[in-house]
C-alpha cells in the first residue's frame, strides 16, 4: 500500500506539511495525491475513533449473521446492496462459512434493533434467516485498544 495511505490511515489529522516531511516530497504533491485518492473514491471519508463506552450513549450495537439466497443475476450483490442502504446498518460484509452476510447494526435500544430485524430485514425477499448478537463492551476498535493507557517504561537516556 502507498506510504501516504498508511500515514493517513494511522492519523488522518497529520498536517500536509508533516506528511510531506515524512515522505520527503513537497507538500503540494501530498495535497494533489490526497485529492486524487478522494476523487477516485479510494479515500471515502475521515472519522474519529471513539471510545463510546465512556460516552454513556443511548445506543446498542448488534452483529447479525444473515443467510440469503443469491439472486439469479447479480449473486449476493443485489441483496447485500439493498440491506446496506438501511442507515441502521453501519457495516456489511459478505462472508465465507456458515452464513453469508455479516451486519453491524446500531439502534437506540434493544427493542429498536429487534424491530429493525423483524420488520425491515427478515421480510426482505431472499433473506433466509438471521441470528442477532448484541455487543456488550468494546476492547479494541480499528486496531486501537480502548481501555489501556500507553505507558513508557524506558529510561530517559539509554546508549
Amino acid at each position: 500500500m502507498d506510504e501516504l495511505l498508511k500515514i493517513l490511515q494511522n492519523n488522518a489529522l497529520q498536517s500536509r506539511e508533516d506528511i510531506a516531511r515524512m515522505l520527503g516530497v513537497a507538500s503540494a504533491e501530498v495535497n494533489e495525491r490526497i485529492k486524487d485518492y478522494e476523487q477516485r473514491g479510494v479515500i471515502r471519508g475521515y472519522q474519529a475513533i471513539l471510545n463510546e463506552d465512556q460516552l454513556d450513549l443511548d445506543k446498542v450495537t448488534a452483529v447479525i449473521e444473515v443467510k440469503v439466497t443469491p439472486q439469479r443475476e447479480g449473486g449476493f450483490d443485489v441483496i447485500a446492496n439493498r440491506v446496506s442502504r438501511f442507515p441502521e446498518v453501519r457495516s456489511a460484509y459478505l462472508m465465507s462459512g456458515g452464513y453469508d452476510l455479516l451486519l453491524f447494526v446500531e439502534g437506540r435500544s434493544l427493542r429498536e434493533v429487534a424491530s429493525f430485524v423483524s420488520e425491515k430485514l427478515s421480510p426482505l425477499e431472499g433473506i433466509l434467516s438471521t441470528s442477532t448478537h448484541f455487543m456488550l463492551k468494546t476492547y479494541k476498535r480499528f486496531g486501537v485498544l480502548m481501555h489501556q493507557e500507553n505507558t513508557d517504561e524506558r529510561l530517559s537516556i539509554t546508549p
Binding site: E3, R21, M22, L23, L155, S156, I157, T158, P159
Partner: protein, 391 residues
C-alpha cells in the same frame, strides 16, 4: 567511603581508570527533570510484539525455567542459522557455530576476550557505541580508534584503516548500521574493507544489531563476502528489530574454533542465556517479517521528518541511512556539544546526547534518536528551531 580502608587502590587499574559512560552521566542529569522530551533513548518505542510476549508467558507456564545448553537451545540455534542465512547471506552450522548470549554486549566481550592477548591491537571506528573502547581495554587489548567523518557519511574506508594499522593489529571491529551516526556501508564499501582484512590477516567482529533497520537500500553483511565467514564473528540480537531490549538476548556466529573459545568463557561466567528469553526468541523468529517491516516503515517516516526539519532550520546533517539515529552537526554554534545539549535540555526540556559520549571525534555533533513518537519528534524539532534561533 566506609571506614578507613582505601579500596580505590585495590581496584584493578584498568577498571579504575576507565571513565563512566558519558551516556550514564547525561542520564543522571535528565532523570532529575520532569516532562522532558527525550531524543536520547537508544531503544525502540515499539512494544515487544504481542505474540512474543504471549508465548513467553506460555513458556513460563510450560516450565521452561531451567538451564539450557551452554550454546543455547538447539531449536533456537537452528532458527538463528536459518535466519542469518536468509537475511545476511552467511552459512553457519547450528551445532557448533552459533552461540546464544546475554545481548550483543556479552557476545562482544566474549569475542574480544577469546581473541586478545595483552598488547594485541583492535581497530574500531569512532563515533561508536559507548562500550567498544572499554570492552577492548577490559580484554587487555589496545584500542585503535579510526575517526569517521560526516562529509563521508561516517563510512569507513580502507585508507583510514591503513593509516592506523600496525603489525600488532589483530582484530577489526565494525558496527553498521551505526550507533550513533546512522551510517551504513554499501557492498562495495565493505569489499574494500574485507580485502584489507584478508591481506592483513585480521579477525573481523561485526556488530550488526541494526541490520534490519536500513531505509534506502538493503543491508549487506561483511560475513557474506567471499573468504570472510572463516575470519568473521557475526554478532546480532533481538533488541532492536523486535524491540526486546530487556530480554537481553544476542548471539554470535562464526568459525567453530572461535565460537568454542567464546563458549568456554560464557560457560564459566554466564552458563547460559535466560531460558525464557530464548523461548521468546524462537517465537520471534517464527514470523519476523510482518513486525519488522511495519517498524522499519515507521522509522523511515520519522527519519525523513528529521532530515527535512534539519534542512529547514539550516542544521547540517549527513543523511542517516540506518539504525534510528540522526547525528547533526552543532559545531557552527561555537560551543562544545555537551554544553549545547545541556543548554537545550535546560531551556527547552529536550534531551539529545552529546556526540562526545561516543568518542572524542563526536565533538561538534549531537545524537538524536528517533525511536519516539512523531508527535514528540515534531515538538522537539519546533523547540530545537526556537533554541538555535537564540544561540
Amino acid at each position: 567511603m566506609r571506614g578507613s580502608v582505601s579500596l580505590r587502590d585495590r581496584l584493578n587499574t584498568t577498571v579504575r581508570d576507565i571513565p563512566r559512560s558519558g551516556i550514564r552521566d547525561f542520564f543522571d542529569i535528565v532523570s532529575t527533570m520532569r516532562d522532558v522530551i527525550s531524543l536520547g533513548i537508544g531503544e525502540p518505542d515499539f512494544d515487544t510484539p504481542w505474540h512474543v510476549r504471549e508465548s513467553t508467558v506460555f513458556a513460563l507456564e510450560r516450565g521452561a525455567t531451567h538451564y539450557t545448553s551452554n550454546y543455547g537451545y538447539l531449536e533456537l540455534r537452528r532458527a538463528l542459522a536459518n535466519y542469518v542465512r536468509k537475511n545476511f547471506g552467511a552459512e553457519y552450522n547450528p551445532e557448533n557455530e552459533v552461540l546464544v548470549t546475554v545481548g550483543v554486549s556479552e557476545a562482544l566481550d566474549l569475542a574480544l576476550r577469546a581473541l586478545l592477548n595483552p598488547g594485541d591491537e583492535v581497530l574500531y571506528h569512532e563515533p561508536c557505541y559507548v562500550s567498544y573502547r572499554a570492552t577492548i581495554l577490559f580484554a587487555q587489548g589496545i584500542p585503535l580508534a579510526v575517526e569517521t567523518k560526516a562529509e563521508n557519511g561516517f563510512r569507513l574506508t580502507r585508507a583510514m584503516l591503513e593509516a592506523k594499522a600496525t603489525p600488532k593489529t589483530k582484530v577489526l571491529m565494525l558496527n553498521f548500521p551505526n550507533n550513533p551516526t546512522g551510517a551504513v556501508m554499501s557492498r562495495s564499501d565493505l569489499e574494500d574493507i574485507a580485502a584489507f582484512a584478508r591481506e592483513r590477516d585480521l579477525i573481523v567482529i561485526t556488530d550488526e544489531i541494526y541490520g534490519e533497520l536500513t531505509y534506502d537500500s538493503p543491508h549487506t553483511s561483511i560475513a557474506s563476502l567471499p573468504g570472510m565467514a572463516e575470519r568473521t564473528i557475526f554478532l546480532h540480537g533481538f533488541s532492536k528489530a523486535w524491540a526486546m531490549t530487556g530480554f537481553r538476548l544476542g548471539y554470535a556466529c562464526g568459525p567453530a574454533e572461535l565460537v568454542e573459545a567464546m563458549m568456554k568463557i560464557h560457560q564459566y561466567t554466564m552458563l547460559c542465556a535466560s531460558s525464557l528469553s530464548q523461548k521468546a526468541a524462537i517465537e520471534a523468529l517464527t514470523r519476523p517479517e510482518f513486525d519488522v517491516t511495519a517498524m522499519v516503515d515507521e522509522y523511515r517516516r520519522r527519519r525523513n521528518f528529521l532530515v527535512a526539519s534539519f534542512a529547514e532550520m539550516g542544521l547540517e546533517s549527513h543523511r542517516p541511512l540506518g539504525a534510528f539515529y540522526a547525528f547533526p552537526s552543532v559545531a557552527k554554534f561555537g560551543i562544545p556539544a555537551r554544553d549545547f545539549a545541556l543548554k537545550f535540555l535546560e531551556q527547552e526540556k529536550v534531551a539529545v546526547v552529546p556526540g562526545t559520549a561516543f568518542g572524542e571525534c563526536g565533538e561538534g555533533f549531537v545524537r538524536c534518536a528517533y525511536a519516539t513518537s512523531l508527535d514528540n519528534i515534531r515538538e522537539a524539532m519546533a523547540r530545537l528551531q526556537r533554541f538555535i534561533g537564540r544561540l
